[in-house]
Point group: C2
Chain length 181, copies 2
Amino acid sequence: MARAVPETHHEILAAAGRRFAVTGYKGTSLQDIAREVGCSKATVLYHFANKEALLSELMAPAIAMLEALDARIAGRTGADAQRVAAEGFVDLAVRFRREIALLRGEFPDLLQQPAFAHIQQISERLVAALAGHSDRPAARIAALVVLAGIAETCGEFLDIPDQELRPALLAVAHRALEPTT
Amino acid sequence: MARAVPETHHEILAAAGRRFAVTGYKGTSLQDIAREVGCSKATVLYHFANKEALLSELMAPAIAMLEALDARIAGRTGADAQRVAAEGFVDLAVRFRREIALLRGEFPDLLQQPAFAHIQQISERLVAALAGHSDRPAARIAALVVLAGIAETCGEFLDIPDQELRPALLAVAHRALEPTT
DNA sequence: AGCATGCCTGACCGATCGGTCAGTACCTGA
DNA sequence: TCAGGTACTGACCGATCGGTCAGGCATGCT
């Protein structure tokens, strides 16, 4: 054990993920996390600059995948954009359903914070793509319902295996989204 | 500035609705509400036993309509239940989109509280009805996506008139829900 | 006039929050 | 042996939360 002890860092991250998933971000105190790890609150803040940094590191992989999807959508139009966006977002939701779940409706507040500001813009582009870049209100409404519906519910299906959940969500998305004219 | 009339009660209710809609229930303090009304926090708590009572009174009409829908669903099966549930829920979402919006993802926590415990059961029956009482996982998944999607997004469309929003949401719901076999 | 009642308030409470800080124990390389 | 870095902690901080309480101030009834 020459290079000692970044182990606590990872333990804190895991505990935070568990607690956030149960009580949400705002509903979980640093004390809660420390208790779960079995260390002091000061230790949590030794490893992470602040509570937001903890969330940030926890969400980093999901955000990276979202940014990759955003890049893949860019330049596409109409039905092509819609298809890529739907498949990409369902993949993301299935893969990171635990991480997404732990934000449970705290998106609006969190997106206000500068650290997550660009997520807001990405999700707007995602909605536009899901709507097939149509400007009909009905297309945008359908896109938003699909996006929010999947984001809010995917965390409920932690017991369903990926290969079963993915096609089911994708089928719902394809049915719900308006066909591009 | 002594207020002549007991209209303060209603003013507080309105202010709370406005603040909750912007910053959510947990994210809004009694101080915030008092500031918006132009009275003291103690006055808010003079008119309402506690913060939860404020929310409760604010949500009462929406809850009453939800209970009425629940009663209407009871006894129906299959496609009939699905149709009534979809239409009824869309009506409810459109009519009370402001009230629903202000809970923004705080449903999970709030439903834990005893005052709202039965809402949890109603929403489960609603999901079952939207799934056409099918026990196929895909049907249940579609039902949950529709329910959550509409609930989470209807608050985004405060500027769209009812007669335009209602058919659009209903169309999405009908497309997204699995046809009962 | 005296009194009760309804409306409202400032001051205050205990609890909890995220975050800071000085200090301690331990390991490692010189 | 000892200096210095890493990991960690208890004590503490200011802010804010929901909620309590005694009392002030009109108003209207007797």
